[in-house]
């Protein structure tokens, strides 16, 4: 049971980090979430 919970937690954390990376470089919107001073960045529409 404990191992299942660990697997779910670790996979969720990994997926979330991967999604963040993808969104930062290839997504339509980006937001500074990696530092203590956040601002919304709205990219140009193609």
């Amino acid at each position: 049971m404990q191992l299942t919970l660990v697997i779910i937690t670790v996979v969720s954390a990994l997926s979330w980090l991967g999604l963040k990376f993808y969104k930062a470089f290839f997504g339509k919107e980006t937001k500074c979430e990696g530092c203590a001073f956040s601002k919304t960045a709205v990219p140009a529409k193609k």
Partner: protein, 657 residues
């Protein structure tokens, strides 16, 4: 003429309180997007006028309708092209009532476009305090049909009147042009634009002389100008700014250390309690060794972040920061960074993301690229947790020169190193990437005023909230992944390594605690993270780092402050001493295989210098890629900053070893 408006645009010079007026009129009923084709924020909202809701667009601040940057061009395009989807039915021109001479240029330009216009005299309280009185009758005589509303957006006065005027409508039926024979100049016709602007200013000077009367005996201007002579003085200005920063960093180390020690101890105990209270197993280990230490690594820095932003908030509120921008412009000019580069670089001292985005106002492409390239060298707030952890670890808590806290002095030096490096790199880049023309910084120094404590605390709470929930999420996720990588290894490699550890038996002098320590080390070194760390160790060893620091260097590519969360997780998994010991205690006890301490003055300083230079921020790289529309610039940035970080850290380590 139909006086019913559907869409109204707000225009005005920067720093006139235009956005405050917009916020007051729309309340929470607003949306941030972008103008088609350009990366410039587009704020739209709905304002109530009578029983109708009218679209309100907040256009970028500009001094003239003739643009000098991309965001100013947005205003030109929208106002001059009636087919533009954002072209408004009417305009509200927000001006600083205490400085009409400069502000009225834009008003006269848009008036001549024959779009129905309303004049909003904002900051009317300041004009009143300066003894300035506006002659409404004289204005109405010269600009018939143009309504004028006096406002103070800081407290919301005049907003009801604006809604009433919009509801009743206004028009250009009695239009009397400011410059009768002037036609709108093309974007390339700089000479024509300059000639027209000169004529307009001649008109405005005469107009203001008729419209504004100044009562004698206000006295405040003299006091302000005396203070400004000191704050923007070529020598004293920098001395005062240096002293302010020094005091700020002294405060951070003097006052924040007590709550930090308390938080450190609380999380140590919480980790121990979780281990005892929950059923034994891997999920319990994940919580007590991965999640809790990772969270503790975030929470512990709240006192310092809060104190820093509290002090910066006060400086901003009093109007002192505008003086800092002014003197920084003078400092940066010899290094090729001038004019509009100053604001992005000063913003980068908080975070490089808004700093890089603020370069959109720079019209010269090359100057913009240079500013983007050096902006991440300014010490951002994400570096504070790393700096303060390492300073507390290797710099003794003692006083120098009788009153200066040595730890605060080192933090000041790290900030200064970032600024000096940014200037020097800009100088080199200016030489490599030759720039055509230079931009000019137009800055209005606001009057000194008492800080509004509500604003200071709201801003402070916002920064702390963002630090906990935004940065915290990344640190937490990285801590979870790190814990897994530190707790498991390929095949039975960890078990084999443990079986090779010599057991404490009669005949050898290995104690039980030494045995446990060796088992924990053997497990960690043969885990996935250990194998990765050992692989990269030869590269970072010349800088004085062990493989555990190497792992944290890799994970902190996500964001710099992830370093502290990673260290907390790695040492929590490995540590076999007292369970409630804090991260600092664990790091202080860390030793190389030959018994030498890992964290010495040399390795600590080397690591701090590494973080001054290294491009350890995925979000900044992403924004640079977006702003430059190319992978080339972020790659150049990561490469040149990485090389600088490695060489500088190596030199520092060798000097202090």
């Amino acid at each position: 003429m139909d006086k019913t408006f559907h869409k109204i645009a707000l225009v005005g010079n920067p720093n006139t309180g235009k956005t405050s007026v917009f916020n007051r009129l729309t309340g929470l009923n607003q949306h941030v997007g972008n103008f088609p084709g350009v990366t410039v924020d587009r704020k739209t909202g709905k304002m109530k006028a009578g029983d109708r809701l009218i679209d309100l667009v907040d256009l970028p601040g500009t001094y003239s309708i003739y643009p000098r940057s991309r965001d100013e061009k947005v205003v030109y395009d929208i106002l001059t092209d009636k087919k533009n989807p954002d072209h408004p039915d009417a305009l509200m021109v927000v001006v600083d009532a205490s400085n009409l001479e400069r502000n009225l240029l834009l008003f006269t330009q848009v008036y001549d476009l024959q779009i129905p216009v309303m004049l909003i005299l904002n900051m009317s309280d300041m004009a009143f305090r300066a003894g300035k009185k506006f002659d409404h009758a004289a204005f109405a005589k010269r600009f018939p049909g143009v309504p004028v509303v006096e406002t103070n957006a800081r407290i919301g006065s005049g907003m009801k009147r604006i809604s009433e005027v919009v509801a009743s409508g206004f028009s250009t039926e009695e239009f009397v042009p400011v410059i009768p024979d002037a036609s709108l100049k093309g974007l390339e016709d700089r000479a024509g634009q300059d000639e027209e602007t000169t004529r307009r200013f001649d008109f405005i000077r005469e107009l203001v002389a008729r419209l504004v009367t100044v009562e004698a005996g206000t006295g405040q201007s003299t006091k302000v100008s005396r203070l400004d002579k000191l704050f923007v003085h070529p020598v004293f200005g920098y001395l005062i700014f240096g002293t302010v920063l020094l005091l700020l960093f002294q405060l951070i180390f003097s006052f924040a250390s007590y709550p930090m020690d308390m938080i450190d101890s609380v999380f140590g105990r919480l980790s121990e309690w979780t281990q005892e209270a929950m059923p034994a197993g891997v999920f319990t280990d994940l919580i007590s060794q991965g999640i809790i230490p990772g969270l503790g690594g975030v929470i512990i820095f709240i006192p310092q972040i809060a104190l820093l932003f509290f002090c910066l908030g006060i400086l901003e509120e009093t109007g002192y920061m505008a003086r800092v921008v002014f003197i920084m412009d003078r400092l940066m000019r010899p290094f090729g960074l001038n004019g509009k580069s100053v604001v992005p670089l000063m913003s980068s001292a908080a975070c490089a993301i808004p700093g890089v985005m603020a370069t959109r106002t720079i019209s010269s492409w090359k100057e913009r690229m240079i500013t983007i390239m050096v902006a991440p060298l300014m010490s951002c707030s994400a570096r504070i947790p790393v700096y303060t952890l390492l300073i507390a670890l290797v710099i003794p808590q003692k006083t120098v020169l009788g009153f200066l806290n040595l730890q605060g002095l080192v933090l000041f030096a790290l900030y200064a190193l970032g600024l000096i490096s940014a200037l020097l790199v800009a100088l080199v880049m200016k030489w490599i990437i030759r720039s055509e023309g230079q931009s000019v910084l137009m800055l209005e120094l606001p009057e000194f005023r008492k800080p509004r404590w509500g604003n200071v605390f709201i801003s402070l709470l916002e920064k702390v909230r963002i630090f906990i929930f935004d940065a915290g999420k990344v640190i937490l996720a990285v801590s979870i992944v790190l814990w897994a990588l530190a707790s498991y290894g390929p095949g039975d490699r960890m078990e084999q390594a443990v079986s090779r550890v010599e057991q404490p038996i009669a005949g050898n002098d290995i104690s039980e605690s030494e045995y446990d320590e060796r088992v924990a080390s053997a497990k960690l070194e043969n885990s996935y993270i250990g194998i990765l760390g050992k692989t990269i160790e030869p590269v970072i060893r010349p800088l004085g780092y062990d493989w555990k620091i190497g792992i944290s260097l890799i994970t902190s590519f996500a964001a710099r402050e992830v370093f502290v969360g990673s260290m907390a997780t790695i040492y929590s998994v490995h540590y076999d001493g007292e369970d409630d010991a804090g991260l600092l205690t664990r790091m202080r006890q860390e030793k190389f295989a030959d018994g030498r301490p890992v964290y010495t003055l040399a390795s600590g300083l080397s690591l701090m210098v590494f973080y001054v230079y290294a491009m350890q921020c995925m979000a900044t790289l992403a924004i640079v890629k977006r702003e430059t529309h190319s992978w080339k610039w972020p790659l150049v940035q990561i490469l040149y900053m990485g090389v600088m970080a490695y060489i500088a850290s190596f030199i520092v380590f060798k000097i202090f070893s």
